[in-house]
Amino acid sequence: MMVQINGATHEVADGTTVAQAVRALTATTTGVAVAVNDEVVTRGAWETTALRERDRVEVLTAVQGG
């Protein structure tokens, strides 16, 4: 199935979880937050939240600013 991760289209296996999507980007989990379709997915729910076709996944972290 196709999903958007940080604006880029990715083909991932059915049943791919939020945790797997994050691991594809980074090994660190601290200082990182995830939203799927504009709703926050708390860290405790990453392993159990499966992505669905055309989900929009945003993986954010803190950068210099302000």
């Binding site: 980007l25 200082g31 937050a33 995830v34 926050v40 972290t61 950068v63 302000g66």
Partner: protein, 251 residues
């Protein structure tokens, strides 16, 4: 100098730093150390797998409290989501609420800011909104439960100083939450003026991070904020039209 208290939390420094604009994390680290800041903003952005080192490591090493902002948001909805993501990523319910109206001026949008502030307060956030120098809006945001108000001196990054000191004084007079002068500071005298006008703290980034010598400017800002606070507490003399002799006039 007396402590700054925001939402019950004490800070001995009244200089809040931003981290934007520093050429490297090393330069930023030296500037933050020289500033003596205890509270510093970061922005939330898409994770870049290629980036090395994190501003969060710098803040953690220096034991500086992180204040996430919602920079880059144009709507209340975007700002609320960004604040929630920051809370999840950084483990803090503090947020510098920043909802801008357009990219040319980066001026804050008062309608979207107020809408977001109400929603974030209801969601348990400690909300520090960045606003124009508008006394009426500052009062409304305080009534809505914001922990501080952060009026601008001038547009972000402009270095134009405090364009309307009279309005800053009006905001200070009416506020019972801390007033933090945010944006527009160009040099140390601007920061001192903010404190002399009665602001409780100053937030700045560009004036330090893009100075030719950021660590030296950070020291200057630290001294200016302290000097301005002390001058405010000391009570300045009234301005007079004509001279008033300080020595006896008769020999």
């Amino acid at each position: 100098m007396d402590d700054l208290i925001i939402a019950g939390e004490k800070f001995s420094s009244r200089l809040i730093m931003g981290t934007g604009g520093a050429p490297s994390l090393e330069v930023l680290d030296q500037a933050l150390a020289a500033s003596g800041t205890e509270l510093t903003t970061v922005a939330m952005r898409r994770l870049d797998p290629r980036s090395r080192g994190s501003v969060l490591d710098v803040l953690r090493e220096r034991d500086i409290k992180v204040l996430p902002n919602t920079a880059g948001c144009f709507t209340a909805g975007d700002a609320v989501l960004t604040a929630r993501l920051a809370r999840e990523a950084l483990g803090t319910n503090w947020v510098k609420l920043e909802v801008i109206a357009d990219e040319r001026t980066l001026l804050p949008d008062p309608i979207e800011t107020f809408d977001a502030a109400e929603r974030l307060v209801a969601d348990g956030f400690v909300v520090l909104p960045y606003i124009g120098d508008d006394p009426a809006l500052a009062r409304r945001l305080e009534q809505a439960g914001c922990a501080a108000v952060m009026p601008l001196g001038a547009p972000i990054g402009s270095g134009l100083g405090i364009r309307n000191p009279h309005n800053i004084e009006l905001i200070v007079e009416a506020a019972s939450v801390p007033v933090i002068l945010d944006a527009g500071i160009g040099t140390a005298s601007d920061a001192a003026l903010a404190m002399e006008l009665g602001c409780d703290a100053v937030l700045l980034a560009t004036a330090v991070t893009r100075a030719q010598r950021p660590d030296v400017m950070a020291s200057a800002m630290k001294a200016a904020v302290t000097a301005g606070r002390l001058a405010r507490q000391a009570g300045r003399i009234p301005r007079r039209r004509y001279a008033e002799a300080s020595s006896p006039m008769t020999p």
